[in-house]
């Protein structure tokens, strides 16, 4: 087994079972009501794959980014518990890469925004926090 760090050298007791995405399903809201970034994310199964639909916040309200499939990540190479995800939105004028960790019930969402429209805008990075909407209390 090849590895780039000892952490990657694991003994596996399960055989390639898919990660459990159940903890991600639902609607996640930005913890910052004054964000100028992503307002909400909704996860759902589309054609058997977990997808996310993002709403950005624009000057005149929410902007629906549509749905894209997400790639799931575990907490460790020997784990089957979902601990993060990545996905990419290509808007033509820009590409946005989302890289998320789930920590203590929050999604910590890193965003890399790269512009392709010669507008002179610099690529930028931002992190935002999201909590799942629930009705338990």
């Amino acid at each position: 087994m090849e590895f780039a760090q000892v952490y990657d050298r694991v003994e596996l007791d399960s055989v390639g079972e898919p990660l459990d995405p159940s903890g991600l399903r639902g609607v996640w809201i930005n913890s910052n009501p004054d964000t100028n970034g992503i307002a909400r994310m909704e996860f759902a199964d589309i054609e058997g794959k977990l997808s996310v639909r993002v709403d950005g916040i624009g000057p005149d309200g929410l902007i629906d980014w549509g749905s894209v499939p997400v790639k799931l990540f575990a907490a460790a190479p020997g784990s089957r518990n979902t601990a993060g995800f990545t996905c990419t939105y290509d808007f033509g004028f820009a590409e946005t890469r989302l890289q998320a960790m789930i920590m203590k019930g929050l999604i910590v969402l890193a965003q890399v925004h790269e512009f392709k429209d010669n507008s002179g805008r610099m690529e930028f990075f931002v992190r935002e926090y999201f909590a799942v909407v629930h009705d338990r209390y």
Binding site: V6, G56, F73, S79, Q99, E123
Partner: protein, 141 residues
């Protein structure tokens, strides 16, 4: 100007001063705060013109494993909460058996590396995400 969120219209993105932010907070030799890490033991960041050169060393059984060097453009780090204006990095390290995507930032003097590892060797290992913290030492090795 096209946008998909208000942040795309942030004046700081076209402000020449943003491209001239200080890079010294990122540059240097960084060691893992956990001396027993089994992950990344060291990260060396240097500036080469408009690019940043990143050398990562993973913990190996017989000493550090030097990952393929990555060169990447800086990203304006416009985190609102702390009112920071700094650079962050997004770096991808390609191995035959794995891709390691990272984002790297400095928060209060601590370098934070978040790693998204994807295996393609059929080893049945799970793709995983991991986060580690680093402190800066003298740049001379």
């Amino acid at each position: 100007m096209d946008f998909k969120l208000s942040g795309h219209l942030d004046p700081a993105l076209t402000d020449p001063a943003t491209r001239k932010l200080r890079t010294d907070k990122l540059i240097g030799r960084w060691l893992n705060t956990n001396p027993d890490t089994q992950g990344i033991v060291e990260c060396v960041i240097e500036q080469e013109g408009e690019l940043f050169k990143i050398d990562v060393f993973g913990a190996g059984p017989d000493g550090p494993i030097h990952w393929p060097t990555c060169r990447t453009k800086p990203l304006a780090n416009l985190e609102e909460e702390a009112g920071q204006r700094a650079f962050a990095l997004s770096a991808t390290f390609e191995f035959e058996f794995m891709t390691a995507e990272t984002y790297i930032r400095v928060n209060k003097g601590v370098l934070v590396i978040v790693l998204f590892a994807s295996f393609r060797d059929g080893s049945k290992r799970s793709d995983y995400v991991n986060r580690e913290f680093f402190y800066r030492v003298n740049r001379e090795r």
